[in-house]
């Protein structure tokens, strides 16, 4: 297994898709902060006024949580679909499978390195958010205070979990379709469109009788987990319908399911 992790890290550490996605998500955090800062400095526009207080370092965890879903999730899904699907289109899966490690060891190494990359992306999101909030506070002449370490850790854990779940969905779809293109298409449609439509339908059907079904969708739980970080400084006080603990448990269950499905597909199917 160590050999697989070593090999997967060697091949993925400079993989353009990972480098570009990490840069992209960092850029999105910068863009988000810039837009909010502008909005706070120029009130009176069509959008609701943004309080500058929400952009200071003590609130940065709440701000960067928005990068987790659906944008971060979609990005993780793309990366998962690429890391699994391109092995088929490049013919590298047969090269890997004819070396020493077994199929499950190979998958284990891939998942470990992929999830480590999701961790790196999470760190980048938090580092960029913290850095930009410091810049804003410094420019505004506001003192710098940080959120509690436990809140930072919880926030990072939540973002990582959301990226990990959606990345694993991409890996499972890549293994299912044995290519990246179909996995990307189906996965993105599911995360960004299909799930939302289905949830809306279920929620509104028969006066909301079946809303409990909608509460088991991964997107619903990801959103609820992110919303659980919103502080009163943002002016919203309604708690999410799904509790953070349940959301974590449901997402962990999805993560396990996607990884088990990937393992079953890789172990059982022929490599043609």
């Amino acid at each position: 297994m160590i050999a697989s992790i070593k090999a997967e890290w060697r091949k993925n550490r400079f993989r353009p898709a990972f480098l570009v996605s990490t840069g992209l998500i960092a850029g999105i955090v910068v863009l988000f902060y810039s837009a909010e800062w502008y909005q706070a400095a120029h009130p009176g526009g069509p959008r609701e006024a943004v309080s500058i207080l929400t952009l200071f370092p003590d609130q940065f965890v709440n701000n960067v949580m928005g990068a987790g879903f659906p944008l971060g999730a979609a990005m993780a899904l793309v990366l998962g679909a690429l890391i699994a699907g391109s092995e088929y289109s490049w013919g590298t899966l047969k090269t890997v499978f004819t070396q020493r490690p077994g199929r499950l060891s190979t998958l284990f190494g891939r998942v470990v390195v992929f999830q480590a990359w999701m961790g790196i992306m999470t760190l980048i999101i938090f580092a960029v958010g913290a850095g930009y909030s410091v810049v804003i506070a410094s420019v505004q002449g506001h003192s710098i205070s940080w959120p509690a370490a436990v809140d930072v850790a919880k926030g990072m854990g939540a973002i990582w979990l959301i990226l990990a779940v959606n990345g694993s969905l991409g890996i499972a779809l890549g293994a299912l379709f044995r290519q990246s293109a179909a996995a990307l298409g189906v996965g993105l449609i599911y995360v960004t469109v299909l799930q939302i439509i289905v949830v809306r339908f279920i929620t509104s059907f028969n006066g909301g009788t079946y809303k409990w079904i909608a509460d088991w969708f991964d997107g619903q739980n990801a959103s609820a987990l992110l919303q659980s970080f919103t502080s009163p400084a943002f002016g919203r006080s309604t708690p999410p319908a799904i509790g953070a603990e349940q959301a974590v448990l449901v997402l962990v269950a999805y993560l396990a399911f996607f990884l088990i499905a990937s393992a079953a597909l890789l172990r059982q199917r022929d490599v043609t």
């Binding site: 050999a3 090999a7 590298t92 047969k94």
Partner: protein, 302 residues
């Protein structure tokens, strides 16, 4: 006692989900130290068989033992180097980095990487990205990767595919060199000249069935001499007296002798001395191509 059989299959069969019977009860035996040619037309089942031997696909029925283990067993894979169909590498990594990745997966160090690059004469281009390689360079890198583990069994599936004539000649020489000593090479090809030049024994597969397995010499058949002479009856009589009736036959106006072609001078002298005019006297050589077409039931030139 050391096991002399490196690959042994017993009723190896693969039927795909769409009902296509790709490989049908193949009984194959590859001995240690030989270069075994696996011949067959396109679509005959060569690649499917090789994929089963390295554990990429599972047989529908039958068994195989490869390097003392079941196909796909990590302990067996540690002794096998393979290039099955087109070489598959990461296009954004250099040739050298790709080999390091393969070495990591194989659980071996990177010490062999420069060595194998040197063997396939790719050292000067090892720093270039795989995606920029020509077909020939890709094939060479595939062979280099197959050699990384210094394997006791090398499985190569049409390694000269896509190479220019010079590249093909170099690759054949390379395979011949690799096959020296105790290493076993299983070479799949549809190029008959290639197999004839390189291999000690051949297995011919057609329509998923292994139709024969023998040495190249056995496949080519017995040596002989063809004679055209006038008067033909007197020539036949004389040659029957020389070699015995069992070694002489008549066919299409010619006389065929089952004898060493080295004796052609003596045959010519005896015929001429007897006043018989000889218009043609040559060794009979059945090419591997003829043998192949006869075995596979395909038509030459079709």
């Amino acid at each position: 006692m050391e096991n002399t059989t490196v690959i042994e299959t017993n009723g190896l069969t693969k039927r795909y989900g769409n009902g296509v019977l790709a490989v049908d009860s193949v009984e194959m035996s590859v001995r240690r130290g030989e270069v075994y040619g696996f011949l067959g037309p396109n679509g005959a089942g060569k690649t499917t068989t090789l994929r089963m031997l390295v554990g990429l696909i599972r047989p529908t029925s039958g068994m195989a033992t490869v390097a003392g283990h079941a196909p796909g067993d990590p302990a067996g894979l540690a002794k096998i180097g393979s290039l099955v169909e087109a070489p598959g590498f990461y296009p954004y990594l250099s040739g050298r980095e790709n080999l390091k990745v393969v070495a990591d997966f194989a659980g071996i160090g990177h010490k062999r990487v420069p060595e194998v690059l040197d063997i396939v004469e790719l050292t000067s281009r090892a720093g270039r990205k795989f995606g920029t390689y020509s077909t020939g360079m890709k094939q060479r890198l595939g062979v280099a990767a197959a050699l990384l583990k210094d394997p006791e069994l090398l499985i190569l599936d049409e390694p000269t595919n896509g190479l220019d004539p010079q590249g093909m000649a170099e690759m054949r020489k390379l395979i011949k060199d690799i096959g020296q000593g105790n290493r076993t090479v299983l070479l799949s090809s549809h190029l008959l000249a290639e197999v004839e030049q390189i291999c000690d024994r051949v297995g011919v597969i057609s329509g998923g069935k292994l139709v024969t397995q023998s040495t190249v010499q056995e496949l080519l058949g017995e040596e002989g001499v063809l004679v055209r002479a006038q008067p033909a009856d007197r020539a036949y009589e004389l040659l029957t007296g020389m070699f015995g009736p069992a070694a002489v036959s008549r066919q299409d106006g010619s006389i065929r002798l089952k004898t060493d072609p080295a004796g052609s001078v003596e045959i010519n002298s005896r015929l001429v001395a007897a006043g018989i005019g000889v218009s043609e006297l040559r060794p009979i050589e059945r090419s591997l191509e003829e043998a192949f077409f006869q075995l596979t039931g395909e038509k030459q030139g079709s």
